[in-house]
Every structure is written in C-alpha cells, then in structure tokens.
C-alpha cells in the first residue's frame, strides 16, 4: 500500500509542477521538500496538492481520507515538509 501512496504523491506533485515548474520537484524522492523549507511551495499550492492526493487515494484505493493536520503550517514540524513526512501522515491516517 505504501508504494501505491508514494506513486500517488509523485503523480500529484508532477501535476502540480506542470504549473509551478520548480526544478526541485522534477525528480521526486522521499527527501524532496514540499513545504516550510528553503524550497517551499506556497500555501495555496499546498492546499491544491493535498486535495489532489485525497482525490487520488479515493479514486485509486477507494479510501476516504482527510489529510488536514493542525501542524500543517508549522515551519518545523509540518507533516507536509517533505515527501517522506507526507507518506507517514497518509499511512498514519489510514
């Protein structure tokens, strides 16, 4: 299941980056920064990305999940800070 979630994150980031065209989002790895660090996307892009990931999980895995998190906007502990943290959040929620 984790591999499938990683594929979904990859797909969603790739789709988002068609508009953003950020270099660091071209080749996504587990360490790829998403939010809060030097290579942060903005909060609107983050909201769109998380929404898309929720849709893809619903579509591909038939699972309803809400990835909202109270630490979302934390610069240090955001569960969206990088791909690995986001993957952890998804597996925790499901």
């Amino acid at each position: 299941m984790e591999e499938q979630f990683l594929e979904i994150i990859n797909q969603a980031i790739h789709e988002l980056n068609e508009d953003l065209e950020y270099d660091h989002l071209r080749n996504v790895t587990i360490e790829t920064e998403i939010f809060g660090g030097e290579n942060s996307i903005d909060s609107i892009s983050l909201a769109s990305l998380i929404t898309e990931i929720e849709f893809l999980i619903r579509e591909k895995c038939a699972l309803n999940v809400v990835l909202a998190d109270e630490k979302a906007m934390s610069m240090k502990n955001s569960p969206y800070r990088n791909v690995g943290a986001l993957l952890n959040l998804i597996t925790e929620k499901l």
Binding site: I44, A47, S48, T51, E54, R58, N64
Partner: protein, 232 residues
C-alpha cells in the same frame, strides 16, 4: 449538464423550499437531512446524515462527485436554534447548536470546496441570522454560532477566491418555520419592530438574495452578508 447544487437541511422549512425551488429552476439538487426521504423526486437526490459527522459528509460529497463530477453551488442551510437565558442554558444545548451550525457548515465548505477547486468554480452561500446584529437577548448561543458562520464567510471568501469560489451569507429575519415555533408572539413582534421593513420574511425574500449570490455574473461578490428586512 445542469448545475449541481448541494443544500443541507432539506427535510423541512426553508431547506425544503430551497430544494423544490431550485429543482423547478432546472438545477440538479442534492440535499441532506437527519431523516430519510420517503419519496422519490425527479432532479433530486437525498442523503440521510448528520452534517457534523465528518465521515458521513465525506461519503456524501464523494457520492455527488462520482455521480456528477462537479458541485457548482453549496447552500449551507441546516441549522438549529434555541431560546434560553444564559443562566438556564445547558452545555449540551450549546454543543448541539455549535455542532450543527458551525461544525456542519465548516465540514461542508471544506469538502465541497475541494471539489469546486478542481473546476476552479463555485458559489457557497451560508445562513446567518438577524439575531447576531440585533444582539437578541435569549438567543446568545444561536447568535454566537451564527457570528462564527459570518466570520467563516468573510475569511473563507479570501482563502477560496484564488479558486474562483465565492462565499457569501444571507441573514433572514423571522420566517414562519419550525425554527421559531416556540417563540412567543410578543417576542416576535418586538423583533419585527427592530426591522426597517416590519413584516415576516418570506421564502422568496431568501431565494432572491441567494439567486443574486449564485449567478455567474456575481463573481466579484464575495465575503458579503446580506441581512433581510433592513437590519444592519
């Protein structure tokens, strides 16, 4: 394809009227209430749920998205009221009112806005009340819950503008529905006297404002609260 409109609290009162009105206007209407619907109506789908139950709201919004691929309009009508003096109000009453009026509104906006954001289009209309600006004694909890809805309206209008989603609210005066059936005539008459136009609100007064908010040309109208009857 017809525009898809989600309306909460459609089993009776204003919600039922809104559902019937927008079906007749040619919209595809999806409604919900705690109680099931025992009839089949063309152009209408019903979901039986508690608006404050996150899992049930997710399931409904997902079902609408799967069936229609979009939601154009959300009307957050579901609401409950209670008249009581602060010193006589049980905490349970406060919890119930906030669950439906605030948490329910929040959940529907959050989930429906996700669908709307994919199409980069949406109209959200919330329900406020004149009890908030009039600061009506005996309605502190109800007015406070609707004040929260007004804050959501004004702030979420900013957060969702980037997705071309507008968020506005209509604040009805007393309309003859179950919501005010327990209120004395004396109190209702005193309330009507505070209005610039001293009459009961009618359902058509409410749809008149909603029609304005939801039309495509109203894309520059957001974060607004329109109170009926000349209350400001």
């Amino acid at each position: 394809m017809a525009e898809v409109i989600v309306i909460t609290g459609t089993s009776k009162g204003i919600g039922r009227y809104l559902a019937e009105y927008y079906i007749n206007e040619g919209y595809r209407v999806v409604g919900c209430s705690r109680s099931p619907l025992h009839e089949s109506i063309d152009g209408y789908d019903h979901h039986c749920l508690d608006v404050a139950n996150e899992a049930e709201v997710l399931e409904m919004v997902d079902a609408v998205f799967k069936k229609y691929g979009k939601i154009d309009i959300l009307i957050n009508n579901a609401g409950i009221a209670s008249m009581n003096h602060l010193l006589l109000t049980p905490l349970k009453t406060v919890e119930k009112i906030f669950l439906t009026n605030v948490f329910g509104t929040f959940l529907f906006i959050r989930e429906v806005a996700k669908v709307m954001s994919k199409k980069k289009y949406g109209r959200i209309v919330n329900f406020a009340t004149v009890a908030t600006p009039l600061k009506l004694e005996g309605e502190a909890t109800y007015a406070a819950s609707k004040a929260a809805v007004v804050s959501y309206t004004r702030i979420l209008a900013k957060e969702l503008a980037v997705f071309n989603i507008t968020v506005n609210a209509v604040g009805p005066t007393p309309v003859k529905t179950d919501l005010i059936k327990g209120v004395s005539n004396e109190k209702i008459n005193a309330l009507l006297k505070m209005q610039a136009v001293r009459r009961f609100g009618a359902f058509k007064d409410i749809t008149n404002v909603i029609d304005f908010f939801i039309k495509p040309q109203s894309d520059f109208i957001t974060g607004q609260v329109i109170y009926l009857g000349g209350i400001c």
